[in-house]
Amino acid sequence: MRLARLIPFAMAALLLAGAARADDVPGVTDTEIRIGTFGPMAGPGYLYGRLAMNGVEAAFAKANEAGGVNGRKLVLVREDDRCEPAGAIAAVRKLIYDDKVFAIDGGGCSNAAVAVREDVEKAGIPWVVFAAVHDGLTVPVSPVIFSPALTATIESKAQVAFARQQGAKRIAIIAMHDSWGRSRLDPLMATLKEKGITPVADEEMAPDANDATAQVLHLKAANPDAVIVVLYPKPAAVFLRDAAKFGFKPLAIGQSGIGDPAAFEEQVGVPGATANFVTIAMVKVTPDDPAVASWRAEVTRLYPDDRLSVFNLFGIGSAEVLIEALRQSGHDLTRAKFIDVMNHLTNFQTDVYGGPITCTPADHRCNKNPVWLKKDPGGAIHVVAVTPVD
């Protein structure tokens, strides 16, 4: 009698198990797990695409050498999004429907990345963001998107907090007003307003500008204690170079768009111009840090022409998170199981991020520890502070 009552349940369980086996999990076989990635493979944004992908590849290679994840090898499938929304949509659809990958570890350019949110959610495919910082990826929270990368709001809050910690009263802004700049400028303005701060100057600069004389003269006249720099590295370099010419050297507060202070100092090219420049890194280590020696070796083994860059580290960090969640999901891997693990990932220490990674079902901004980097002219890069946000 009791046995008879159990029969339907048993049958259902068998059916389900059978179904699970028959209805294969996309991208997962007995021997491998295919993971997709997308971002710009060429062009000025390739740092956030190709280089981050190379980092993911390095992390996969290391995991595979150690026997893979629960016995399966990781395989990375790359698609180029050309840093454009349309390109990203095409790339992600290809990953989901043609390449049939299990999950995505990618997203280099903010505006391209945010454009694919709907497609990703519709397909129910988990996505670990490796570099894009757009708030729209994580706010409102998406059931499938997790970001161990920083987000624009977190960075903006950190920029304002850092300026105040340094005693700055008069805060000025220089920003690009293209879509990238806007995605950071809007949360920055909101944060300033929240803190009751009115910027003493608000200058605009084009990404391909060769001259910042007008901006420097305006800013200098406003006499700020700190200038928040919402620019790509190239216009930022032009700005600091021209500022130095006019003897204007305020505290300049960058963001993760200018991720490598050593390269930046070299690119600015004017001795001392970067003396008061600090920037946010997603990662707490610099490429020449002994702590990442094994990663350095791995990247140069895979890409003999490259030296380890901070953008490789973005990929490495996100891949460490992805691999950990895959590992915790166990051998019977499904997307639902993986998403559940991600939702409860707590205090996971990576080799690269500024603090432990913690995701909750209500908040998928899993990294709240912007790292402040500074390079003393001619000296080494060092971590000035970590500004936990929220």
Binding site: D208, A214, K234, G269
Partner: protein, 291 residues
């Protein structure tokens, strides 16, 4: 403030002039707009970088190397993107040079793209400002502006006083008549591409310390140079010079006095106004057509 803005504007104007004059030269001699002019400049910039920064050769060698490399590049460009299409319609010609632009950009990304997202070219002179009464003069700007002016003067002399220059002018003036007097027009076309590209080479070596170098630098520079050329009537060298300086100055002054958001649009607003009033540009000779 005016003095600084004007100086910055003049410097940029001189650079735009170098780009614009290369475009006008090729247009005049061949009737084609070289949409790859900016990308030739990019390649030249990286050649100069490789010679000067990587191989530690003197700056002058790097400049000449960039000019020579571009000269050859111009000859190649004429061979692959112009000569096979010399009698085709203007759309094919445009597409050919646009295609070339993409090819060069791809080449630049593959060869130099891996070095970082952009490179800085060391300044040619120490960075200490020179005080001139109340005005701070920046040596780098002076060197670049002076260099650009020198290149333009040498170029004008070449055009006016060498027989080669006069053959180019004649071909630009009347292609049929040029053939009839026995000028080898196909060679002049090749030479126009080569000299136009060599100008881009000189421009690149001069501007690299100011603009920094990255594989996608070509298009924004092409647009400014092209705007200057259109402003001047597309076939007038003095008009282009005037247009380039005007664009540089307007950008800088608008940025300073109106607001930094106006830097990019101001010059184009003025150009559109000029073209509305004078559709042939400021000094253009005739309605635009294929020569």
């Amino acid at each position: 403030m005016f003095a600084y803005l004007a100086l910055a504007g003049l410097t940029n104007g001189a650079l735009y002039a170098l780009v614009g004059i290369g475009i006008v030269l090729i247009y005049k001699a061949t009737g084609a707009i070289n949409f790859a002019q900016g990308d030739m400049l990019m390649v030249a910039g990286f050649v100069a970088y490789t010679l000067h920064v990587t191989l530690h050769l003197p700056y002058l060698v790097a400049l000449l190397g960039a000019v020579a490399a571009c000269f050859v590049l111009g000859l190649l460009a004429e061979r692959i993107a112009f000569r096979p299409l010399a009698n085709a319609d203007i759309i094919s010609l445009v597409l050919a040079t646009v295609g070339l632009s993409f090819m060069l950009k791809g080449f630049g990304r593959v060869v130099w793209g891996g070095l970082g997202d952009y490179l800085s070219f060391p300044p040619l002179v120490p960075n200490d400002p020179i005080m001139f009464g109340d005005i701070i003069l920046l040596p780098q700007q002076l060197v670049v502006t002076g260099g650009a002016v020198l290149v333009i003067v040498v170029f004008a002399l070449f055009f006016k006083f060498t027989s080669l220059g006069r053959m180019m002018q004649a071909t630009a003036d009347n292609r049929r008549a040029a053939r009839l007097v026995g000028i080898r027009v196909d060679r002049v076309h090749a030479l126009a591409f080569a000299v136009g590209a060599a100008l881009a080479g000189a421009a690149a070596a001069l501007m690299a310390p100011i603009t920094l170098l990255y594989p996608d630098i070509g298009f924004p520079l092409f647009i400014k140079g092209f705007a200057a050329a259109v402003f001047g009537g597309l076939d007038s060298l003095p008009g282009t010079l005037l247009g380039a300086v005007a664009i540089g100055l307007i950008e800088s002054l608008a940025g300073g006095y109106v607001g930094s958001g106006f830097v990019d649009v101001s010059a184009f607003l003025v150009i559109m106004a000029v073209l509305l009033i004078r559709p042939r540009g400021l000094l253009g000779s005739a309605a635009l057509r294929r020569a």
